[in-house]
Symmetry: C2
Subunit: 211 residues, 2 copies
């Protein structure tokens, strides 16, 4: 795979362009200019052009980019032109909603296992057909089902110990929904999703608007 | 309220310290040094000290900070030492999980309204007691219940139109769970939560690890 070195900040923008292009494909638009894409994504046109320059010069001046081509090129560059298997840890309210989140599969992410330690949950079948398994057999399941990403949706106090077990099992990508920092070695990448930090940021700005 | 000018990047770190202190309070720890807080949050001690310097010199050298004091000071600075009323737009899987997310209320964010346009959902009672209302009467409800934050969990194609209506109704803080960029005027702040962008970032890094 041809893989240029992309600056860290560009990666989330590229992923964001991908989401936007995905919606445009659904809407039957064929071509897009960097200016149009910039406007839809709320970033400066220069930045879009710079980010897209990692893909070489396959856009045509004055005409723009063919949306389906740009979409598949960005997927390839990001390494997401394949399906990633994911395992969920913690089948509470949030975990259950994540399992049912239709967009994941569309975007190439598929839950192939769901673990919990609650005996009342273990053995239950989820709406997508997965059966909740006890966390104590997770290591063999992860190997059997070729899991690449672990999704942590357990209570905060248990998040680090789940992460430790994932790392020992050779998983090096973690999506963390607990509000605490997870310590991992350099061979592992954690991405955090914390709604309440976003709410605090909103609270701060709304307070500033009104003073 | 005493309100120093805090750099944008420091705000999410302060919110993150808040989450960590919250867990420590639950665990009955009384004091913490900036080094300990830095370690728990995975940031450099110098950065923690710099961020905490916005609160003046109420930590004691060699002893550290009293956790409950630091916690309430950070809340005050961020303007989250109060309860914010929130309205949910879109009661799908994700929306339902958000309503049931126990941590929101603990952290001072309370859903006081939930809207949908699906006639099969309108009128249903949610587990927390809220009744799903039709989106067409949202404007008067937002005023009656003093809503400060709108939470958008509708399908991507409808996100911008919900945001437009929120802004017209005078809401200037939006938490957006749709994967698309929402255009808002300067008087409004949007924070985006997009799981799939986080997954793409993971995918990119895992691919890099293995090549």
């Amino acid at each position: 795979m041809w893989s240029p070195k992309i600056p860290v900040n560009a990666i989330d923008r590229l992923s964001f362009y991908l989401r936007t292009l995905d919606e445009l494909i659904a809407g039957d638009v064929e071509m897009i200019s960097s200016e149009q894409l910039a406007k839809q994504c709320g970033v400066k046109p220069d930045l879009v052009r710079k980010d897209l320059s990692y893909f070489g010069e396959f856009g045509r001046k004055g005409v723009g980019y063919r949306i389906v081509d740009l979409y598949s090129q960005i997927k390839k560059i990001l390494g997401v032109d394949r399906t990633w298997n994911m395992a969920l840890f913690g089948v509470g309210n949030l975990g259950s909603a994540l399992i049912r989140h239709a967009n994941f599969l569309k975007q190439g992410y598929r839950f192939v296992a769901a673990f919990d330690v609650d005996p009342e949950k273990v053995g239950n079948r989820l709406p997508d057909g997965l059966i909740i398994e006890h966390a104590d057999r997770f290591e063999e399941v992860l190997k059997e089902r070729n899991v690449g990403i672990g999704v942590i949706a357990v209570p905060p106090a248990n998040a680090q110990s789940v992460a430790n077990q994932l790392i020992l099992a050779g998983i090096n990508g973690i999506l963390n929904f607990s509000p605490l920092h997870i310590h991992v070695p350099d061979c592992c990448r954690v991405e955090n999703v914390d709604f309440s930090i976003k709410l605090d940021i909103l609270g701060y700005h709304i307070s500033s608007f009104s003073t």
